[in-house]
């Protein structure tokens, strides 16, 4: 078996890459991709813990995997709403460069 650390380090690496993408990119779609990478990394953590650590309550033998399913649900909803917002911004401004989306700034 692979030790738990390795999964956690893989997840940490993916999370940090996603965080870099969110912070460094200026194109709204690529920022969304970074967020998806981060959510994916947390899913790896949840599933790994669910595999390696015996839950305290007997009624939830796979709590981590259930949480991962909920994270996937949220990720899907977030992607749909995010892309709808990006589409709206594009129709109004003809670009999705997040630094220049400042029409709501007072």
């Amino acid at each position: 078996m692979i030790p738990l650390h390795w999964y956690l380090l893989l997840a940490a690496a993916l999370f940090c890459i996603g965080l870099y993408g969110v912070l460094a990119r200026r194109n709204a779609v690529t920022i969304l991709m970074g967020i998806e990478l981060m959510l994916n990394a947390t899913n790896i953590n949840l599933v790994a813990f669910s595999r390696f650590i015996k839950p305290a309550a007997a009624s939830m033998p796979l709590g981590g995997q259930s949480f991962a399913i909920f994270v996937m649900t949220i990720a899907a909803a977030e992607a749909a709403i995010g892309l709808a917002i990006i589409l709206t911004v594009y129709r109004n401004l003809r670009h999705i460069h997040v630094d220049d989306v400042d029409i709501m700034r007072w």
């Binding site: 991709m33 595999r51 995997q65 709403i81």
Partner: protein
């Protein structure tokens, strides 16, 4: 630690991290989306290593099948068919360096406790559970029934919200219909008129759909 496990894990991890790095560095947005799908696929393989068959299938269906396709649709609708119209440009050198510093510091902060502890002395997993899909389904409909129903409600709201957002922006003046309450009205009246404005907009949208 068996060798086939180790080799599989190494390949999947290298593919996942490598394609994730390409996602955040490549210039062409379309290529970024394709490498994002590759990264998701590698993570699905990691789920198989962790004995999570249902999540493996869900990962391929939802992330690779749905989210990546949604993102590609977003790219095609906003940046031309090939992703060349608007490059996935990063900010200036300052913002890139700041982002890099934050990401590296965070990774080092996670890495340090793992290195400091005895490497390899972690929890030992029990024997792999058989038929996790059935257990997971039962658990979702008993222990996690309320979150499960809330998730379905959230998906419905997100779907309606996404459709409304994408439709309304076609209107010449989308903001004008949702009337800002007049100065003299009480807050309750203001909310009422705003609600009416939204309802009116929705009705118009429905008409346009027909």
């Amino acid at each position: 630690m068996s060798l086939p496990h180790l080799i599989t894990f190494a390949i999947l991890a290298v593919v996942a991290v490598g394609s994730a790095l390409l996602v955040v560095t490549l210039r062409n947005v379309f290529h970024c989306a394709l490498f994002l799908a590759l990264s998701f696929l590698a993570v699905a393989g990691i789920y198989v290593l962790l004995n999570a068959e249902f999540l493996f299938a869900a990962q391929i269906l939802i992330y690779v099948g749905a989210i990546t396709v949604l993102i590609i649709f977003g790219i095609m609708l906003t940046q031309g068919r090939t992703g060349r119209k608007q490059r996935a440009d990063s900010g200036g050198a300052g913002s890139v360096l700041t982002a890099l510093a934050i990401a590296v510091v965070l990774f080092a902060g996670i890495l340090a406790p793992v290195i400091r502890r005895v490497w390899g002395a972690g929890p030992v997993p029990g024997p792999p559970m058989r038929g996790t899909t059935g257990i997971l389904g039962k658990q979702l409909l008993t222990t996690y029934l309320l979150p499960f129903e809330l998730a379905s409600l959230l998906l419905l709201v997100a779907m309606v919200g996404a459709i409304v957002l994408a439709m309304l922006s076609d209107r010449p003046e989308p903001v004008a219909t949702v009337a800002v309450p007049q100065g003299g009205e009480s807050p309750a009246d203001g909310n009422g008129s705003r609600g009416a404005g939204v309802a009116e907009t929705l009705a118009e949208t429905e008409e346009r759909i027909r």
